[in-house]
């Protein structure tokens, strides 16, 4: 029996300066959580969210930063020839927060 992940995980983010704090994840699939950081609309980093609920991105280059929490949505083990999942992927599970440097 291959696991079928149901429902949609959700978390809320709070921004304090450049520090983001996440809530617990509801409907947590248990798969990996990560922070996705974008600058001026372009993804610049993904960082494992780990068990610490707070995160501050180290980059100080000027621009508008957007941070969102993502979780890995497992659909199947299938991968392409480069080893990347073809059906499973990270999805946003929070609304983004943003700040400008």
């Amino acid at each position: 029996m291959d696991q079928k992940l149901e429902g949609t995980p959700k978390a809320t983010l709070q921004l304090d300066g450049h520090t983001v704090t996440r809530s617990d994840v509801s409907n947590d699939w248990g798969t990996r959580l990560q922070w996705k950081i974008s600058r001026d609309g372009k993804e610049v980093a993904t960082v494992a969210a780990g068990i610490v609920p707070t995160f501050e991105h180290a980059d100080t280059a000027p621009g508008k930063y957007e941070v969102v929490l993502q979780q890995f949505q497992y659909v199947s083990y299938l991968k392409d020839k480069d080893g990347k999942f073809t059906q499973s992927k990270y999805i946003d599970i929070s609304a983004p927060v943003s700040y400008t440097i």
């Binding site: 992940l5 798969t31 497992y74």
Partner: protein, 459 residues
Amino acid sequence: MLHIGNEYLPLCSGQTRRSFLQVGAAAMAGLSLPNWLNLQAMGAVDEKKAKIRNCITIFLVGSPGHLDTWDMKPDAPENIRGKFKPISTSVPGVQICEHFPRMAKIMDRVALIRSLHYNSGSSHENGQRWMMTGHDFDAANKQPHMGSVISKMYGSNGDLPASIVLPTGIGNTGTTTPHGQESAYLGSAHQPFILGSDPARSDFKVADLEAPAGQSELRIEARRKLLHELDDVQRRVETSSTLERDTAYARAFNLLTSPTTKKAFDLNEESPKLRDRYGRNTFGQSCLMARRLIERGTRFVTVNQFDTVFGISCWDMHADGSSLNNTYADYEHVLCPQFDLAFTALLEDLQQRGMLEETVIAVISEFGRTPTINPKGGRDHYPSAFTNFMAGGPIRGGRVIGSTDKIGAMPHDRPVDPPQVIASIYQAMGIDLETTMLPGPGNRPIRLIDAEPIRELFA
């Protein structure tokens, strides 16, 4: 022959009117419960409700690479140490994989056995039999699962079966030989009850606890009375051995109609927050259900993390580009996080409920994985060295038993073999291995396992 569950009742010869009536009455009641129910009374189940600890065994089907999880070798060459980094734990000097951050925080409650090994073949099934029966494969002398031994020796502790396998039995893992989760010579009465359904699904039901279509509980109760009346007549003329079977049918009815039993399987009784803490996935919810079952009287729960190694994300990281194409990506994004969440949730939940001292947790696997990464970036089967672990009950946490050499190829000190792990589980459950004998084949008394426990787990 008639068939009830896995039990065959002879009709051509040796048929009794009673057996025919029983089958008919059971069919009338719409019963299709697994054979443990039908036969529990026949198998000399000891209902003495002996005081032993319970056990939850988590079986990591597919088997994690020890060098990528709980026995990392950061100083080894790159093609051996792998992709992941070690992190410190709550036990000074003990490191585990970075993808187990929650487990790292509670390592003081966990005892790692890093020097497990055996040398008799590296099929999944071989490892399954070693780790769940303590015996190498012998087609002519199949050995019972630990849960079946517990069922035989201590019986059930209430309406629930003594031994339950979640969420389902192990299916195809490569060969057609047994998986070590059978009752073997102990008989059908001690087969584990297999849930056979995914508790994480919103439409989850225990099929065998559902009244057959069109049969209300009222009708089932009416049929129970009819069966009882038939039994009364027969009881006057038949022997005590046939009466044993009555209990099986009574249990079947009880299980089918008992609200308490049904509640044991109802995860909706748990708070959404706790369900989230275990992880809303098959493995996480199975671990939560294991706790519920133990709480309600089941003595031995086996959680199979997977039922196959083919075509799914599992620990069997051959990276073969085909149906065994598990890689580091599966470990990082799915397997390690889900295990980390569920295992730590189980330990914390048991502890918060005051159940951890009375519940032994054993996390076991078939083998380790090759120290050298294969040309496709995976690791293959490797029984010469691997890590399993235990917690709960009298197990002393924060311990590391044994070690492997610099590349994790073989035990460096304190080698441990699978029967010693089984013996340790029994001892942790409170069973005196010197005085407790199992009726073996031909009812010859034998030790539960022919090995000594790992004393360092208890010292």
